[in-house]
């Protein structure tokens, strides 16, 4: 079976009904995506399939073949820079224990890809699948707005530079 994670191809031998979560964590060794409940209720296992956020604890790995899987390890633009969301997460000092945050950030990443100025209602809808036991919800909300603003500014800056930045 061939799967692609963060634009890297992996050839794996595993029962096709194995949930994608365990393939990512154990076969591939990317442990940033977390196990929280196993029934899709907590969001800690959130990854993207072709940009759509899904609960990897419920998706059999077979369904991820021919799709691009994005995990927390894959959203930074390169090895030395952070994604705008990750920077916002540091600037607002959002994580506490941090265990739920990979799932939170992947969900935010998907939200902002489609909505550059989410309202509180948009945030409620997009983020209520991600449980945080440490109570970072108010800061996550603030972080989303901060990241959205930063992304919009970057877009504006790019436009103004008429393609001088790539």
């Amino acid at each position: 079976m061939i799967i692609s994670i963060n634009n890297k191809i992996h050839e794996i031998e595993v029962d096709p009904t194995t949930p994608l979560l365990w393939v990512i964590r154990e076969q591939i060794g990317l442990t940033g995506t977390k196990f929280g409940c196993g029934i899709g209720q907590c969001g800690a296992c959130t990854v993207q399939l072709d940009g759509i956020p899904i609960r990897s604890c419920l998706i059999p790995v077979q369904q991820a073949v021919d799709k691009e899987i994005t995990t927390i390890e894959g959203i930074a633009p390169n090895a030395t820079e952070l994604h705008v969301i990750q920077q916002a997460w540091i600037d607002e000092q959002i994580p506490q224990c941090g265990y739920c945050q990979s799932g939170q950030i992947i969900a935010v990443h998907a939200l902002l890809a489609n909505n550059t100025a989410p309202t509180d209602e948009d945030i409620d809808l997009a983020m209520s699948g991600n449980i945080c036991r440490c109570g970072t919800y108010p800061r996550v909300r603030k972080g989303i707005k901060r990241a959205a603003a930063a992304l919009t500014n970057t877009a504006i800056t790019k436009n103004e530079n008429h393609g001088e930045m790539d």
């Binding site: 929280g36 029934i39 506490q96 224990c97 945080c132």
Partner: protein, 703 residues
Amino acid sequence: MIADEGDTVINIWLKIGADNTITVIVPHAEMGQGVHTTLPMMLADEMDADWKTVSMLEAPGNKEYANYALAKGFILGEKDIPSMLIGTVDGLFLTAMKQLSLQLTGGSASVRCTGMHAMRVAGAAARAVLLEAAAEQWGVSPDELVVKDSYISHPISNRTEPFSSFVEKAADLSQPAKPRLKTSEEFTIMGTSPPRLDIPEKVNGTASFGIDVTLPNMKYATIKASPVFGAKLKPIGAEAIKDMSGVHKIVNLDGAVAVIADGYWLAKMALDKLSIAFEESANDTVGQDDIYDLYLDDMNAAITEGNEEKDLKKGDVESTLANANKLVEAEYRVPYLAHATMEPMNCTAFIHDGGCEIWVGSQNPLGFANSVAEALDIDREKVMVHNQYLGGGFGRRAMPDVAVQAALIAKEVDYPVKLIWSREEDMRQDHYREANISRFKAALNDTGNITAWNNQFVFKHDPPEAPHIPYGVDHQFIHYAESTTHVPWGYWRSVDSSMHGFFTESFMDELAYNANKDPYQYRREHLAKAPRFLKVLDMAAEKANWDESLPDNWGRGISIHQSFGTIVAQVAEIEIIADTVKVQRVVCVADPGFAFHPDGFKAQMESGIVYGLTAALYGEITIENGAVMQSNFHDYRMLRMNESPKIETYIINSDNWPGGAGEPSTPGIAPAVTNAIFNATGIRIRELPVKNHNLVAKPTILS
């Protein structure tokens, strides 16, 4: 402690590198409460070190970092432990030492005990010997020296050198018994909010939690223990898994069966296929009602037999009640609560060379080492605990049960085994905050003031002051009955205060109502002799605009509670929407004496509020047929983003001895919300969780 080449060990809390960098050894776990940053800040500030060059290591589960070693002047190599840590006698120090002896991270004590007594003292002591070494080396008086940002300078002769120039000599000097500590005006790092050292790895997936540990040749296990606590397993033969590919072994423990396989999923599938049975036990028919009935029986018996446990007795409650102008009585109940850390329980164990290594997120590494050594019948020195980040602690990860299981499983094989509990196992094999009943009887005089307060409940754990009230009431009798239960008990965020905050602040609200007084004003009147509490309460009411009218279907409630040395007042604004409550806003005012990392302190207030609010609205673990009914997040409901209120936090630095941050905001949120519900609906909730009650807003009066 092992020093790397070029490091000089100053004391067991501190190494200085040849490159003048500082490494602080922190004997506490990081579970999101920020102590891997706050504790080094306290040492670095007293030392006048450059914060930018400070890093930290977590102390191993090692007796060097336990109380008795410090108290008895344990010698590390040729270095003396600062002698001031021996012999100072006051209640807080003894608590600190007790905590350290267990190497426990809990009780909201890391900053107010270890930080105050170890970190600050170690930093100040190190500064003192570095100064003495520099003075000797330069042949000048120490008074002429200036210490700043890890450098010592002598302005008169225009000399400046880094700490590292003096460490060798300093390490040989005897550290002062009682070094001077900075006053809060002198703080340069304490009281500020530098970015937390652990956050960068928590936004890119690299932070390693217990569940993430990977070792060569490691296999995976999962387990099922008896749903009826304490019942024995009927062992399962190896043939049950013989045809399962990738599944290696069944391990029968006393009350649980585990399966070892090539991956968690394989192990879980195999476990689910087994026919697992347990022996009959006396608790097989125990239900939730039986538990409450037994509590009441024991409470009544304690009274009639006159052998209740007296917690606080003041004045003459009996005759004051007998002669009361008005008598108010109420009974409250709270259910069992699970911890539900986001990371399910797990532990990796590897038995080799006569010893055991474990990798785990633990609130008590030394305690875990003790328990594992006992279980394996080996010396504690042969157990090495590699502590990891905790995906939530809340008291659950102070219990060594999962580590003992992992060690017993690993004992059967010769490779490392990572044991992971399913969420269902985690929910059903917790050490719960107990269910409880609290009965009150109070006397009001003709102006509505409380003259007598009688309160009885079951069990007493920690903190001791949890059921005590700050209000001026001359006659008080607070007492409890012992009872019995087969449900395992454990520390749950704010422990006894998680119940008594709800009990006492709900009853206080009922008394206000009976006295026909505003709940805020009523509390004010009874705090006349408690100015520190009054200040916190007043600010909460002010910031919440207490007297402003709210829209229809809205309500407002107030609470104040002290726990772990910190006073917290909260005002909750709620809205009744379609027969349920939405908590819209919480105003939180806290007096922790001094907030060492103000933003981190606020984050802990927010955290405790969301944790307590989840429990208040939804939290309910029910026992049926001796076992826990709930199993996952579909039936043990969690608060989510769309239900989370706006939270505003204000800090009062009253310059009292520091209080804790991790737990003190949890006790007060439940009563603030239920008092607000009463304000909006006239419905008095005496039994949590709120979800079990039908809420209808008071009808608006049409003009």
